[in-house]
Amino acid sequence: MAARKSIDTSINQAIKLDLAASYFTIFDNRKQLRVGLQYEKKITQQSILNWNIDIGMYDHYSFIKYYDFFNQQQGLYSIEQKVLITGFHLTPAYYTLIYQPHWLKPLKWFAGGGVDLSFYQKKINDFNSQTNEQSFQKIYQAKIGMGPSLSARYLITKHFFVELSSHFFMRIWKGISEKNVAIIQSHNAHWTDIHNQFWWVTQLKIAYAW
């Protein structure tokens, strides 16, 4: 049993690159440019600590809404909103080894928990074509979430492994610079509930270990 749960002692530290960082904008007409990096350090034979940073341009898009389609006098008008969101997520997490099948030694399952500390800057540029008015707004948001994590990794060679990890976070604090504005949803998440109270982050990483 002890042999089954032992971590490969040759892995003391690792650096990982998140390959899934931009997957959810592929089918949308918006831009995202971000990078996710992670550093891992072994604490004991069965537990590890991870520090993840995800940083970049999270969202860049235009949203045009038209009004008064049948207005015979003035014709229709539009309000165009250009949105740019930049920021970062810092996610420290603790994992413990929960399962390593004896018939597939390179595969390891870990469970643990993490904290998601995020900071966003959102720039909004509005243009009203009826009044030719332009307005600009800048919003800052900090948010902290906590929750459980699950991770599976497969060692390809002594120095390389791939890892799929999933984190489910619950918001425990938020701070927004402006009053009466909607909370910015977590852009590193592939699912968010409608109240932005919970979010789910999945990462697919390739790692170099030593």
Partner: protein, 285 residues
């Protein structure tokens, strides 16, 4: 040899990428009259949506994601309440039986959809309107589902139109509610003094264009499969063309290229995204 092949593949891929980008750039939401195409969800989020169509659960999200409004199927209860429902019989889709025109609203509102989601009931149009913020910024197309089996059809048709008239006056929506129907219904609407835009439900043909033009209707509501080559002729006659219902990305693009004035889409998400008209801040429940 492998390196040479790889190089050729890369060149071809880049070429295809640029071709695709150019194609996207040529897409426009301009209409023949210089306006912009109005995007409506078909029965809400479209017939492929996972929640029952013609319900608050399907219509509120399409307004949230940025659509200009929604098409919806409308019927009238025995006590003159307009309800959102497609079929003439309640039984295949809900826990109730019989026709809507034979029942009062108190009975119809108990009808629950057979759905994976609990507590989805048949809704009234008034209930929907009362829950939409900035209602007068939205547009709705009422597809009139008048049951031909109703005993006094002419009277029933009049009651139906008067119910629409009352609702539109109450919510100041006459300019924002379009009515789709056959020629008899639309003529009846004119004779009752409804000021809504009237759309003749028909294939887009020389005959339907003549009918709509001669009767001063606003336009024609036609399936995308029946548009043919008549869209420019309808426009020349001053008629609007409402097209239903492209149900995927490529059909949306094809319908856009026909320069119709209103699209009722079964895939409103991809159409709105294509035209930078999607509200990414809205989270679909």
């Amino acid at each position: 040899m492998l390196g040479k092949n790889a190089f050729i593949y890369v060149v071809i891929s880049i070429g295809l990428l640029f071709t695709a980008c150019n194609k996207e750039a040529s897409l426009s939401d301009d209409t023949y009259t210089g306006s912009k195409v109005m995007i409506l969800g078909h029965r809400g989020m479209g017939t492929g949506y996972y929640k029952p169509h013609n319900t608050l659960d399907a219509i509120l999200p399409v307004l949230g994601i940025g659509a200009d409004g929604s098409e919806m199927d409308i019927q009238l209860t025995k006590d003159s309440v307009l309800v959102l429902f497609h079929d003439y019989n309640l039984s295949p889709m809900t826990t109730c039986n019989g026709s809507i025109y034979q029942q009062n609203w108190e009975e119809v509102k108990q009808c629950k959809y057979y759905s994976l989601h609990n507590n989805v009931f048949v809704n009234s149009v008034e209930n929907l309107f009362s829950q939409i913020p900035n209602l007068t910024n939205m547009y709705f197309s009422f597809d009139s589902k008048i049951d031909g089996a109703a005993p006094d059809f002419q009277l029933y048709q009049k009651q139906f139109l008067r119910a629409i008239q009352r609702l539109c006056i109450k919510y100041q929506m006459s300019e924002h509610v379009m009515i789709e129907g056959d020629i008899n219904l639309l003529l009846q609407a004119q004779s009752l003094g409804l000021t809504n835009k009237l759309f003749l439900s028909a294939d887009l043909s020389l005959q339907s264009i003549e009918d709509a033009y001669n009767n001063h209707f606003a336009g024609i509501s036609a399936s995308i499969n029946s548009l043919g080559a008549q869209v420019p002729l309808a426009h020349q006659k001053g008629l609007l063309v409402m097209a239903w219902s492209p149900n995927n990305y490529s059909q949306n693009k094809e319908t856009l290229s026909r320069q119709v004035d209103i699209i009722q889409s079964d895939d409103p998400m991809s159409l709105l995204k294509l035209l930078n008209r999607y509200n990414y801040e809205y989270i679909i429940p």
